[in-house]
Symmetry: C2
Subunit: 455 residues, 2 copies
């Protein structure tokens, strides 16, 4: 059968299910619906579009052999496949747009091997468990999302772009962070491809549309003793300027620099004592030996340290990174259901000025939230402002306002990979690669919209 003929067939779920034999499945409708969701509801727009989307079946491979069986059956029976880790994304990465199966990778958790500076692991491993297993030898992940305690490494690589740690190591996709990946192609005769260096980047941030990842090889960082610090400032601009200065201070080893404007701290329940009324915060993670020089920098810039404790990640602990990145939005949503957010990237040659402009323009319509990162080797600020949702038009106007002032927006209110990127198209490498690994376009069809299966 030609690719075109296969592509024109209708999904045959019964045939698929018979073909995968003993690979574990979940077909209880409530559970299937649950595992077809992620945190897309952070966006009222995605919420309306995605809340009724569901897979028909969840499949839970135990190993790569199971993945090959599933890929073969899906290709032959034309069943759409949406790959999922823990479903902690908030762009609908793990939501099947056209039904079919959700391929739940959370049973594939083995570390294949580790050596100094590198770990190779199956995709379903939780990030917090991965660190727990590499720390005894002195290593940890270079970066992780704020959902480290629930998210999987495969989900992070496939659906993320960076996070806590990016202020030192840049984005996930910068050379040297992801060293390799193994993927199973979605074809009638699936192949297992070993990707290295540049080639391995093609699976990163492709929202699971570029082959089924069965292993990732990650460069690790020396594990350090991290200290969570909260610093209060009279003005947001001081918190931003201080965060920027520390981001530029290469002698201060840090993982997180997050300025947030008052009243964002009112959403941080249980930390009231460390969040003085009316003051903006800088949330930071600093390596223990850098704490004293960090505090000297902070004091010189008008900040007062209100909280300082080693980062703890065990059950019941509350690492400060769970106040940052998209967790900030989550805390606000718990209090106020009307809140949503934007994602922006400020121009690196005038970061502080551009932030001041946007703050002035948005006024009370947005609550400032920034994350300092390195981006292509340069310190940059990402904005994740909290906004009260009224209408989609109003949200689009705010986005336009950013763009008119030279601030790039990565729109978190669209379902496609392309719409969410700053470039409005899939990376050319990703798109070309998709023809190799998913020629029938069965991996969450509709997600990579610029892809069309070849005849």
């Amino acid at each position: 059968m030609t690719t075109a003929a296969l592509a024109s067939m209708r999904a045959d779920l019964a045939g698929f299910r018979a073909a995968i034999a003993d690979v574990p499945v979940i077909d209880e409708p409530a559970l299937v619906r649950l595992r077809s969701r992620d945190f897309f509801w952070f966006s009222p727009i995605l919420k309306a579009q995605l809340q009724r989307k569901s897979a028909d079946l969840v499949v839970c491979p135990r190993d790569e052999a199971d993945v090959v069986v599933v890929a073969r059956a899906a290709a032959r029976h034309r069943v759409p496949v949406t790959v999922r880790g823990a479903g902690t994304g908030n762009y609908g990465q793990a939501v099947p747009l056209e039904g079919g199966i959700v391929l739940d990778m959370t049973d594939m958790t083995a570390i294949e091997w580790q050596r100094p500076g590198v770990v190779r692991v199956q995709p379903g491993k939780k990030l917090v468990d991965l660190d727990a297993e590499t720390r005894p030898a002195g290593w940890e992940q270079r970066m992780h999302p704020s959902t480290k305690r629930t998210a999987t490494i495969g989900g992070f690589v496939a659906g993320g772009s960076g996070g806590v740690g990016s202020v030192t190591y840049g984005g996930l996709r910068e050379p040297g962070n992801i060293l390799g990946a193994r993927v199973v192609t979605l074809e009638p005769e699936p192949r297992v491809l070993e990707l290295r260096d540049d080639a391995a980047q093609k699976v990163c941030h492709a929202y699971g549309t570029n082959g089924i990842i069965t292993a990732v090889e990650m460069a690790t960082a020396p594990a350090l003793a991290w200290i969570d610090v909260l610093v209060a400032f009279d003005e947001l601009s001081q918190a931003v300027a201080c965060g920027h200065a520390v981001a530029l201070a290469d002698g201060i080893v840090k993982k997180l620099l997050t300025p947030v404007a008052w009243p964002v701290p009112t959403y941080f329940k249980g930390l009231e004592q460390a969040c003085p009324e009316g003051r903006s915060l800088l949330i930071a993670m600093v390596a223990e030996p850098s704490l004293a020089p960090f505090e000297a920098m902070v004091a010189a810039r008008g900040g007062s340290v209100t909280y300082r404790a080693p980062t703890e990640e065990g059950p019941g602990a509350r690492p400060l990174y769970e106040l940052t990145w998209n967790h900030t939005t989550l805390h606000a949503l718990k209090v106020d259901k009307e809140i949503t957010y934007l994602q922006s990237l400020f121009p690196v040659d005038r970061t502080l000025a551009a932030i001041a402009e946007i703050e002035a323009l948005l006024g009370d319509q947005a609550m400032g939230h920034y994350e300092f990162v390195r981006y292509n080797g340069v310190v940059a600020a990402v904005g994740l402002p909290l906004v009260r949702f009224t209408t989609e038009e109003r949200l689009r106007a705010m986005i336009a306002l950013h763009q008119q002032h030279g601030v790039m927006i990565a729109d978190p209110h669209v379902t496609s990979l392309e719409g969410g990127s700053g470039h409005m198209r899939a990376d050319i490498d990703q798109l070309g690669f998709k023809h190799e690994v998913d020629p029938l376009g069965l991996m969450n069809p509709g997600k990579m919209t610029s892809f069309t299966a070849r005849g």
Copy 2:
């Protein structure tokens, strides 16, 4: 006696010598002359000015108590004091301009303590020995000069500004690198000052004119497995562009990125096989897990790896860092006595363009040698071009040419601290601090020219 009265006294060396009792001294004239020299002869101008300078006596304190005895005696008997480590500097930092004593710190080598990320050590410890003692616990110095195998930590802190490792951690003086220092003041009643954070920076790069350092507390880096790599390119511009790209790649962990133009590699004896005729080189130190992505970047930019081996520092070994920074100049001088060099800092917003301009302007008069560093949080290129010395006027014209094109020069052909800095004045903190720690101006008088003792 008032400070002014003390300052007007003549040096009383005999009185000094009697007062220091059993503190070890060297008075054999040939040895005293030898220990009054450093590598100032890299500069033909400094060579003419400094080659007849010498101390009258070398004093070798065994511990801080000895240092206090010497400081008291020097102040009371008005004897100039020039502090010296291993004398590996090449700006005449350790050359006494007005005689007196050289205070040779190389017998003070104890590590006071170490803990994860920090080591506190006496100033005479050789950098290579310091790393050897912290590596078993997993730590190493964040940066070191190319003279690591002979230089001392105290000499580096007092006379250096950065080096191998600065491409990651910035300059020595950036916050978080030097955490503390203890200094003995040069007064009739010496005090022992503990300096922390910002205050500790006042002893850095002050050429030993700001108190006698008896301990430094250095932030350390996780010790990694480093690989020495040589990469050959058809054109210098490719080596420079590749080095710049790797410097900006935050996922590639590195310590050294040094592009050198052909024919500089002809000075690298014993490495002929790795230095193909007519080709420029990028000399690099890369962490082992970053080697594959580094080589992928290099290959994509037209480079061919000609040498690759773990960095070895034992006797008989030849770490590649001994081809870089001012060692490059040393190798050239061994072959051609007419060679000298300049030191420049390129504008960060147009690094590659400015390098291309200077290369075109200097043509055959200079051999390109660059070092990538981080400087105030931004990737920057330092230039250390090799030039054939003809006249001082010609050298000054080359310096002016750089400055006219927006390239800053730190002149290595002047004896004063101020002349060698880009700012032509002592840091205001350093100058103010000198009044506290050396009110009589006895620490290598003439070195910090903007200082005048108060009456």
